[in-house]
Symmetry: C2
Amino acid sequence: MANRKVCIVGVGKIAVDQHVPAIDASPDWELAATVSRKGSVEGIPTFRDFDVLLSERPDIEVISLCLPPQPRFQYARKALKAGRHVMLEKPPGQTLSEVHDLQRLAEEAGVTLFATWHSRMGKGVAGAKAFLAGKEVTGGKITWKEDVRHWHPGQEWVFEPGGLGVFDPGINALSILTEILPKPVHVTRAELDFPDGRQTPIAARVEFSRGVTMELDWLQTGPQTWDMEIHTTEGSAVLKFGGNELWIDGQQQPAAEIEEYPALYARMADLVENGRSDVDLSPLTHVADAMTLGRRNVVAPFAF
Amino acid sequence: MANRKVCIVGVGKIAVDQHVPAIDASPDWELAATVSRKGSVEGIPTFRDFDVLLSERPDIEVISLCLPPQPRFQYARKALKAGRHVMLEKPPGQTLSEVHDLQRLAEEAGVTLFATWHSRMGKGVAGAKAFLAGKEVTGGKITWKEDVRHWHPGQEWVFEPGGLGVFDPGINALSILTEILPKPVHVTRAELDFPDGRQTPIAARVEFSRGVTMELDWLQTGPQTWDMEIHTTEGSAVLKFGGNELWIDGQQQPAAEIEEYPALYARMADLVENGRSDVDLSPLTHVADAMTLGRRNVVAPFAF
């Protein structure tokens, strides 16, 4: 099979750090163009206007959207209406209903829509899911603490409506949780800390059914923490490093070999090949539920 | 067919004003008991403890939950696990995921779950839906302005997390909108006014795709407004009085005869008879999207 041509839209940190190397290393894919206001990738044609890309490059069959969530819908809509397969960075949209609309457009166009959750491809996630299958969950604890200034330097959009705030990393934890639990949970209580004058939270404490709790903090300097432990009546699974290391009952487990983003592009190749889509909104549903149900505190102002 | 026995849980304003008269007037139903901390219905056995009701009255096959949304899940869960059919007042829960969980429980128990939206039974709604079918929507305007002190006297829960604030009435408009539109819309922008120190909004302005706008205000004294207009390339539909009066291109249309709550109980009888459920979460999804995406303003404090 010839390489499939893909265009990256939005050449920012995540595209440069993850998407471009994953595509370069893949036997399935060829980075054929980028669309970006300012960024570019050396040696790859860059378009400033997405409409021009769509009309001039009918040979590119897949669009990978790496933009912030706020403008993503309009790009995805255009790509789907132009008959292209679409890969969405997480979160797949700024609202649930806009992604429902994208699902309908993809069905009408007969193309693949893949709402990616890179953390689900963490090297320990499949092992955790296999361990938990059929077991009775008695509780769990998610601790996700990182430094927004390091991971989102100057990215004001994360504090704008639709940017999700600390749920931008937190949704990675939720994408793992919803993947590995044998039965789903729902938010029962949430407390959200909004920096004075900002529109999204910088910290959150969320309680779910089945005794699962989540603590999110975006002001963690020094060591960063992306840990999850799930307890059952037959032992515990602990995921460290954002799902990339699995411990069961205190024993470290063998890890998958493939990295997160190469795994996403391999999955996309498979979805396109088989004419299927993969859109699971359960992580975003938990965020919307926490934002709807959450008790709001105003905390100290934040500046990058 | 003998009357089906129903138990109302939560004997508050909505139960007394709507549910009890609808059941009394129905050929299908018999109000066999109530569960309430303080309220009761004359001549009907009252239980203070829901567990006692479930264990002592196996003859009651349907539970109608008229509680505020915050405690509703726990009651619904118990009822479904006890093999009873369940009818939920709107909104069906305080989060989307908890209703997903109820759907699974209902399926497991093989019983009916009906998430009611009484405004969908407004006398002009079916006519508006029939008119709009297959037409191209060019815009629309929802104006929902009422006096919270009149409709929710002293009900502090509406301003507590999960109470939805002005979206408690606004979700009625959304339940109509999602019923009548030929193609769905999604929230593109929202502005929410939170009274100082309160956890839910008292006013909101929401923009949807397809040019639909919504204005919600909970401080309207004097005449109350529950109006919706939908414009298409082939004329306009206007619903007044919360969906109960339909005008098409300036001409008033004949109205359905049955009132909202009698229509809900007739529908529930049909669902139970046919072993089906009816749970449409699209109105609550729009609220969650607005709460996630909305820009927040703090406005004057509110007291009942």
